[in-house]
Symmetry: C2
Subunit: 502 residues, 2 copies
Amino acid sequence: MSGRIRNRQFAAKVVAAEDAAELIKPGDNVGMSGFTGAGYPKAVPAALAKRVATSREIGRPMKVGLWTGASTAPELDGALAEVEGIELRLPYQSDPAVREKINSGRLDYTDIHLSHVAQRVWQGIYGELDVAVVEISGITPDGDLIPSSSVGNNKTWLEQADRVILEVNSWQSADLDGMHDIYYGTALPPHRRPIPLTHPSDRIGVPHLKCPADKVIAVVETESPDRNAPFTPPDETSRQIAAHVLDFLDLEVRSGRLPRELLPLQSGVGNVANTVLAGLQDGPFEGLTAYTEVIQDGMLQLIESGTLTMASATAFSLSPTAVERFNRDTAAYRDKIVLRPQEISNHPEVVRRLGCLAMNGIVEADIYGNINSTHVMGSRIQNGIGGSGDFARNAYVSIFVTPSLAKSGAVSTIVPMVSHVDHTEHDVDVIVTEQGLADLRGLSPKMRAELIIERCAHPDFRPALRDYFERAQQSSYGLHTPHLLDEALSWHQSFIQHGTMR
Amino acid sequence: MSGRIRNRQFAAKVVAAEDAAELIKPGDNVGMSGFTGAGYPKAVPAALAKRVATSREIGRPMKVGLWTGASTAPELDGALAEVEGIELRLPYQSDPAVREKINSGRLDYTDIHLSHVAQRVWQGIYGELDVAVVEISGITPDGDLIPSSSVGNNKTWLEQADRVILEVNSWQSADLDGMHDIYYGTALPPHRRPIPLTHPSDRIGVPHLKCPADKVIAVVETESPDRNAPFTPPDETSRQIAAHVLDFLDLEVRSGRLPRELLPLQSGVGNVANTVLAGLQDGPFEGLTAYTEVIQDGMLQLIESGTLTMASATAFSLSPTAVERFNRDTAAYRDKIVLRPQEISNHPEVVRRLGCLAMNGIVEADIYGNINSTHVMGSRIQNGIGGSGDFARNAYVSIFVTPSLAKSGAVSTIVPMVSHVDHTEHDVDVIVTEQGLADLRGLSPKMRAELIIERCAHPDFRPALRDYFERAQQSSYGLHTPHLLDEALSWHQSFIQHGTMR
């Protein structure tokens, strides 16, 4: 028995990754761990990809349904996509190879709210879950599983899968033990009870995952780092966006609409969101908390400085330098971080109760406040909606952030009409670009349009937006949300044809 | 003291409607009771409208902000809109005069989820609430207020308004007393606690509304019926839609995905939804419950026949004949109906926990499963989103129903791209027309398109939809959600220009 596998029954099942991969059958639905590059299995997916490639060479192509927590890493999504080994992918992805396959029509992808995945799998919507491949950081003498750097849907995979393959990764800090809170109280209706969580720091479950040993068909040992992107230092645009958000929060506090210690922060993945967090470091706020999906570098720094007293999430998403710092001193963070299953970290009931302040990046917004988070030019998937809907829909204030320009200035992220909608006008409170902030709460569509154009759009595109809005008010079919339907998507069409919206 | 006003302090405040209306000042924000033609004030709004008209004649135009529960009736919305007495209207309306003012650009309307109104008013998003005008059915000797045929936002109006005008309507059945459940446990974060409701029949509050007598500036006595539309007998199209829904529910039960007594039903307002309910009468289901916004004729019949054991809602929406039946024998329904504030009847936490089966009507759907519930041709408001988002977003199964044709066949309700989005692809499970039913759960966008076109679209429009989908797959920018942006909204444009999508 290695140091991490402290139970004989499990220890007896240790095999090589290649042997474990052989236990996955063509056509299986496979639930893998992994959330934003953390806690995904490192060895079995690669071995499976090799097997898929070999199978194809001998004329017996093989595919599996791939379900995860959220995005993973090249060793998993990338490897399997490149050999065309994925039948249907869900729920969120950000791998270039996967994205390319989806957008060239060779991979089916279903993009659902991250909080919905577990209940849908329980419902049987996606069919049977055949195999779970889950990374953990250790096995206790009692046979309990110590989770890894993400929890994601692992509880559900382990419960629902017929067969389970475990990867025990000794690269993960042994001190992660005790940081997780696995809630086993969810159920399908009519058996649901209130989720007894009223503060981000509440622990309502147990620290370990459970899995009957007889379902475990293989245990694989690894010692491989999570692969997360390095941290990009904030640019001027991100800093300006962060400043607008901080001004807004400050005003909300001074107006008595938010308490001094704010409300639990949710922050989407990405550099802009990370910069907003970094900005909080120098802001007037103290005693903050977070109830969010992922802990990025910015949040870790806020914990280190004491500005953030604690953070609840389902995964880490740390740069290589931050993860080194974290792994060196994991124990110091243990009472300040809780990692939960994503059905709880993103649960609408809890998000609404806590009153999260949701901050998420977008692809584009339109002048009436509809948000496109997923589709470039209305047809090409970027990553997926992730948890942005879970949070925005139930948040106390839902804030969306984006630079006003994209594609080196060829694209305005403020357009007459978005080419796809992920967050409707009813769910969008505040839009922020480096140009400024539009507080849309309580406004009619036309009031929103004026504010978004004047506050958020880039000056280069403002005249054309004003012109559209003016003319729409002259000749639109209805004047509640004035639109010229033969022109509403022409900015996108122009980009597709000429490479620019200008 | 009349029979309905059994408290001296309140009795002393009885005045004529005209005198009460004089107590509303120009520019006031006024919160009125009323939800789908039930429980709205019958006398003061008309008196106010008269005053507005007179003010305008003498060159001193007067407007008020008008907040309600949802839609009301001609005596309220219609009267005030016709004299241009409304500054900003929220949240849901269905009055022809109001709609005309909004769509001609003379009335600002902000369309928000019905469950969001109370918390937003508490947050102060819409400014101060100056006056509440609330219909009740009586006042107890202790000075408690017995609610009327809708609860809506009345709890919030009475709490938040500086001044309160009560209308005591003796036309409402005295036996309504005891049917309501007013929950006083909501709060703003960080003070929110779980809402202790785990079954539609649970009573978690008190039967009466509270309001300090010193805030009450006038009490007006009325004896006027709620004005609801007569019941339209189900047509063949509605019956076919209902049959598809019943088949689906039956299959879900037989597949083990729903319990035999189903899960709490939510049904939107309208004839199609009502027909689906009527269809349940003859279906194989027993012991049903409802957790919904309004109780329509169909639901009342289900209660009478015993198919539905109980219904939770925030209002009635009964035809004149049904209301007569109900008023004659109100007491018989008392243990089978609970009326709650709309923040509870539509609360995301509760809807998710109970696992509601949500059925709502729409304006149009697109081939990828996005739903437009509010905007005709993308710019002209119909009614508003109402509670459809509250329920669809958190439902166990979210079903949307519509005839496949509109405007005497000139319009296909299945289009390449919806002209406005109220429910995104992520929140739509099932679409039903008289042609058939598309179960979209777990499908990628292209799989959904095939199903929606073949199952739901009218045969007259199927070839054109197939053609669009085919060509989009040839030349779309991305192939995840194939679209031809220069054509996507051309069906609507054609209707605007030529009066037909054909």
